[in-house]
Symmetry: C2
């Protein structure tokens, strides 16, 4: 197994100023795995769902090379459900409803091949669960990437810091980086977070792009300016999936290659926002991704002679 | 005369979460002219001040090659004064006090050499005043760049649109672009604004960088992630000054060169934020600017092979 992902597999109800989606498939591990599947095989997914989860969606994931032996199905139970509303500023959202359902029983036990994976993606989840997955790995993976959110900073900071201390790359949004560090400046926030354990910090800024900090260097990737953002749900997870999937494929953890992985993740995330749920990710192919990456190249490309002194 | 700028020359009182400045020299035309002076000579400034304006600041501007024959001094009167407060999110601010003072009497009459300038920068001002300057030009300048703000959209939209229709490049912030176009998406906003007359639109997004739209193309320049933003006042004007100063120097209005001008403007703006008022602009030299531009090159540089289909 090359890359395993632990995270939610869920239903979402989404409202935006431009439309509604009543009950679409979502969840961090869903977005991450689908995005990663464009770049690498040997994917495994660790999560829990209820009996209500649509079989055709599971079949579609299997077809994309995502192994589901790590996905527990609890009979007679319902899958995790989240409902949220976005406003014109798509960078913030209100949670309208959260039904944990099966998620409260997530107690991952890794199948044997999963425990030997080279890459591990810890999607946003209770840090206790993230730690349990990490502990079950036979050998330390070549690279562990982690996401989390403000909820765990408020409710489980000590455990969260313990997990953060043992990962290679933390990928969180700007508000979370500020909260975790207590610093408003993202440069200072990064300095502080990089003393907590991770070698690299990725700061996801939604429509304002993403920053990569580490080794005393910084890299910035813009988000693609889109005519319409239909639904940003899952964009951060899609970014993470493209990022870690590209790294698992290239097996190169240099700063130069992390930059490429950030661009790949940004390209995938831009697709994600074009439809509700995972729909757009199911429509695109490698050629679409290449075209989109070329748009990123063009977007920031400039060639300047220094003005000279 | 190569480049003339019309705009305010003023005093500012500034409060930020990190400090205060009681009465520092500011104003759009001050920042624009100082920033442009790093790149081009033949600068002229059109504005009005009171007797209270410090002579040493005027002398310093003359030393930097800024001609002040277009700067009227009204005896016994006070200069324009603005007081504002920033919060942690430096992208928004509250105006605490505005005293127009001499500004209500600004009725620009261009000295002969000014009326023949090749480049014209219309800083944020009453569009009636901007139009008066434009009308006095003997020949249509090679390039007219214009800034404005929400206040004029609320109070003088028809006149404002008249001026916008006659400029080459409109440079405004993201909230202003949204208000002017009635579109939330910046891509749609740009499409709409480019039908109003300008060939190019620059959208200034503060700490989130800047976008250039035109000729069916788009370019994005990040803002440099800074450890501390001491005072963002004037950063937008400094950006515009670096931008138009670089264009006046290079006399190349191609999309490729506009991109370079955006990077130059962004570099200058990043310095502006490091001290209160214009102070940092008075400390730096061309070598500092070159170093900063190199940081921008490094910040967004990546080299990617398309993943292939």
């Amino acid at each position: 197994m090359k890359l395993i992902t632990v995270g939610t597999v869920a239903f979402d109800r989404i409202e935006t100023p431009f439309g509604k989606a009543d009950k679409v498939v979502g969840g961090a591990a869903t977005y991450i795995s689908l995005a990663a599947s464009f770049f690498t095989d040997g994917l495994g997914l660790v999560s829990v769902i209820g009996e209500d989860f649509p079989e055709d969606m599971l079949e579609m994931m299997r077809e994309r090379g995502i192994d589901l032996n790590g996905l527990e199905v609890l009979p007679g139970r319902e899958s995790f459900f989240w409902a949220g509303r976005y406003h014109y500023d798509m960078n913030t959202r209100d949670t309208l409803e959260t039904r944990l359902n099966v998620l409260s029983d997530l107690d991952p036990r890794l199948p044997e091949p999963y425990a030997q994976a080279t890459y591990l993606m810890l999607g946003n989840l209770d840090p206790v669960v993230q730690a349990k997955v990490l502990e079950q790995m036979k050998e330390r993976p070549a690279l562990v990437v982690m996401d989390t959110m403000n909820f765990w900073m408020d409710s489980a900071l000590d455990k969260l810091k313990e997990v953060i201390a043992s990962v290679d790359i933390l990928a969180i949004n700007d508000a979370e980086a500020r909260q975790l560090s207590g610093e408003h400046s993202l440069v200072r926030a990064a300095d502080k977070i990089l003393t907590m354990g991770p070698k690299y910090l990725v700061v996801k800024k939604g429509e304002h792009g993403a920053l990569l900090f580490g080794q005393g260097r910084v890299f910035f990737a813009p988000a693609l300016p889109l005519e319409d953002i239909v639904d940003p749900t899952g964009a951060g997870d899609t970014f993470a999936g493209g990022f870690v999937g590209y790294l698992a494929h290239t097996q190169d953890h240099s700063f130069e290659n992390l930059k490429r992985a950030i661009i790949v993740g940004s390209a995938l995330a831009s697709f994600c926002c074009e439809r509700f749920g995972v729909q757009r990710l199911l429509e695109i192919g490698r050629e679409d991704i290449d075209q989109r990456i070329q748009q990123f190249v063009d977007l920031v490309d400039f060639d300047i002679q220094l003005v000279g002194s």
